[in-house]
């Protein structure tokens, strides 16, 4: 099987090109993905020595997340654990919210819009992403701010008497996270839905199916690979987001990545930061795998 794949690969790309591609891919996977993660893992398992020397292997850094600093008054590290849980749950919520928002868009683009309309609509989706992430986050902060557009409109219409603090309520944060990854959700879904034969939708309709049933039985099962790759990306990236929580988060809200950032940057304790980062990464992977199992998605389908 593997041999066959290699042979095929070479036949397809030629000897020189094939070898070049293999080298580049191996470099990318090895040097840019695996090695840094391994060194992170190594850091996380070593004792932190302020002097900068390499410490001995220990599980202390992981212990810290669960039980807190030695000699702390609480039996568990409530502060960090709470932030961790909240980050995961919020990331799941952002993913679900995004899914609900993006499915109709992807369906519209993939099955309903044709020609010019499709191009215009796709462009409208893409153009905002020409602006960089930080600027977009600040724009949202302004829109959601006390004197921002949303408050102005709501007060103007008489729905609110005084400005509502969207930032403190974390609404701005969720909106920002949701908005940041819309494209990553829409495009994999659009890709799959676009390849669905429209006759199948018509056939279901002809056989008496109401619209919701057509989605439940025909479109969604077909779009599952796209939905799962979109959802995986959005979940992973939301859980690991830093800029949006930094800018849009309320004064009280900490995102787990912010704690990690503090360990690395402010605390200079790379071992501790690495341990937290590894926990976040593994938890996210486990959650994604669990959801895939729950919805019977195969790993191989994701790339579709």
């Amino acid at each position: 099987m593997k041999n066959g794949f290699l042979k095929n690969f070479y036949q397809h790309n030629g000897k020189v090109m094939g070898t070049a591609l293999l080298v580049i891919i191996s470099f990318w996977i090895g040097v840019l993905i695996i090695l840094p993660q391994l060194s992170m893992l190594d850091y996380s398992l070593r004792e932190y020595l302020p002097s900068g020397e390499v410490g001995d292997y220990t599980l202390k850094n992981y212990r810290h997340l669960i039980y807190g600093a030695e000699g702390a008054s609480d039996p568990y590290n409530y502060v960090d654990l709470k932030v961790f849980m909240r980050t995961i749950i919020a990331a799941i919520c952002v993913t679900i919210f995004n899914l609900i928002l993006c499915y109709p868009i992807a369906f519209f683009l993939g099955q309903v819009a044709k020609g010019m309309k499709l191009r215009v609509f796709a462009l409208l989706l893409i153009i905002p992403y020409w602006i960089n992430e930080i600027l977009r986050a600040f724009a949202l902060k302004i829109i959601f701010g006390a004197t921002g557009m949303i408050n102005a409109v709501l007060i103007g219409m008489g729905i609110l008497d005084e400005p509502f603090d969207f930032i403190r309520a974390d609404i701005a944060l969720y909106a920002g996270l949701g908005y940041a990854y819309i494209l990553l959700m829409v495009f994999p879904m659009y890709n799959v839905i676009e390849s669905l034969d429209g006759n199948q939708i018509e056939a279901a309709r002809d056989l008496g199916a109401p619209w919701w049933r057509i989605h439940a039985r025909i479109v969604i099962p077909y779009a599952k690979p796209g939905i799962s790759s979109g959802a995986t990306m959005v979940f992973m990236l939301s859980a690991g987001a830093l800029a949006a929580p930094q800018i849009l988060g309320g004064p009280s809200s900490l995102w787990f990545t912010q704690i990690i950032y503090q360990w690395f940057n402010d605390g200079g304790n790379w071992s501790q930061g690495a341990a937290y980062a590894i926990v976040l990464l593994t938890s996210c992977i486990i959650i994604v795998l669990a959801f895939m199992k729950l919805f019977k998605v195969n790993m191989g389908d994701i790339g579709k």
Partner: protein
């Protein structure tokens, strides 16, 4: 089964922007009939079918099913089931789930559905194949599953959009017989679309022949084949030899045509055009290859044609002779092979003979392009 729900198209127009896809169609389809729309690619057959199934609204005119105006009734509410040109089986559902999808919508239990699926699988001669996926079936089997899926919805009218076009010739011929049998068994109205005149002739009770959005003629197979009302129908349905000319004389329901190339020839006037053709009109006369035979050389008269033989071929059941003909088109003569000796005429001048009743005259018009 609910037998005999008829379909009527009344002054049906369908436009896409400025383009007229269907022009003033008037068709009455009797309940329980096997009715075909026959016409070349792009003539508007699918468009008509989609207006019957409810996926397209008429620009003008009405579609009636069982006497009821279907305006405003969606495809999921009409008593029709459509078999798509590409079948459109649901790839992720097993065969039995595909077949009973219409029952699933109505909330039937899995047990009921299984039972019905097994009955239908027996009917389409695929017993025990319910647990396969559509991708695991052959072309002909998929075909039959699509038919079963449509029949399971218990429609009053089954609409079939060239369902055999993807199959190879042998299977296509086999499925013709099978479809006709299924139709007789269930007794519902079938509306069948095809560009294959063989399919239309073998299966249908009645045929509508279409050309670029216009229905030229409606009739049973024999009528359409033997008594075409336009030049298009004469040239599209079956092989035909055309002789162009002008009407020289009308003799009751026969006409003498002064042909451009073969002198004066006598012909029957097609029923639809009797009393409508006048002396001096441009006319076309058609004679089938099998209606021509070789006469003694030198004989002449108003049912003899003299022409030079270009080439000949042996087709098994017949010998075919191709002679020079009108407007660059060859005249084809087809002589049944009954074991007789057959001499080579290539390059010779021969005389052909036909009987008046086997020639049919219509007003000059557009011919079907092959």
């Amino acid at each position: 089964m609910s037998a005999g729900v008829g379909v009527n198209l009344e002054n049906l127009w369908i436009r896409f922007g400025d383009f007229v896809a269907v022009r003033d169609a008037n068709v009455n389809i009797n309940g329980g009939d096997f009715f075909s729309f026959l016409g070349p690619s792009g003539c508007g057959k699918t468009t008509i079918l989609r207006s019957v199934s409810g996926f397209l609204d008429p620009s003008e005119g009405r579609v009636l099913i069982g006497g009821n105006d279907m305006a405003g009734i969606g495809p999921n509410k009409r008593p029709t089931a459509l078999i798509f040109q590409n079948l459109a089986l649901f790839p992720l559902m097993k065969v039995w789930e595909n077949i009973t999808f219409s029952m699933e919508i109505k909330g039937a239990s899995a047990k009921e559905r299984r039972k019905r699926a097994d009955e239908l699988l027996d009917m389409i001669a695929l017993p025990g194949q319910g647990d396969k996926l559509p991708s695991e079936l052959s072309g002909g089997q998929k075909q039959r599953v699509a038919i079963a899926r449509a029949l399971c919805a218990e429609p009053d009218v089954l609409l079939l959009d060239e369902p055999l076009s993807a199959l190879d010739l042998k299977l296509r011929q086999h499925m013709r017989t099978e479809l006709r049998e299924i139709q007789k068994r269930v007794g519902i109205t079938f509306i069948y679309i095809t560009h294959d005149q063989g399919e239309a002739l073998t299966m249908s009770d009645n045929i509508a022949v279409m050309k670029a959005g216009i229905i030229d003629q409606i009739g049973d197979g024999k009528t359409v084949y033997n008594d075409p009302s336009t030049a298009f129908v004469a040239s599209f349905v079956g092989e035909n030899n055309v002789f162009r000319g002008k009407v020289k004389e009308i003799r009751g329901d026969e006409a003498l045509i002064a042909t451009n190339r073969s002198g004066d020839l006598v012909s029957r006037i097609s029923t639809a055009n009797q009393g409508k053709m006048n002396v001096g009109d441009e006319a076309m006369m058609f004679i089938r290859p099998e209606a021509l035979s070789i006469a003694e050389t030198g004989t002449s008269g108003d049912h003899f044609v003299t022409a030079k033989v270009n080439h000949e071929e042996f087709e098994g059941n017949s010998f075919n002779i191709f002679t020079e003909g009108d407007g660059g088109k060859e005249i084809k003569v087809s002589i049944p092979n009954l074991g007789q000796t057959f001499e080579d005429h290539t390059g010779q001048q021969i005389t052909l003979e036909y009987e008046t009743q086997n020639a049919v005259a219509v007003p000059a018009g557009e011919l079907a392009t092959e």
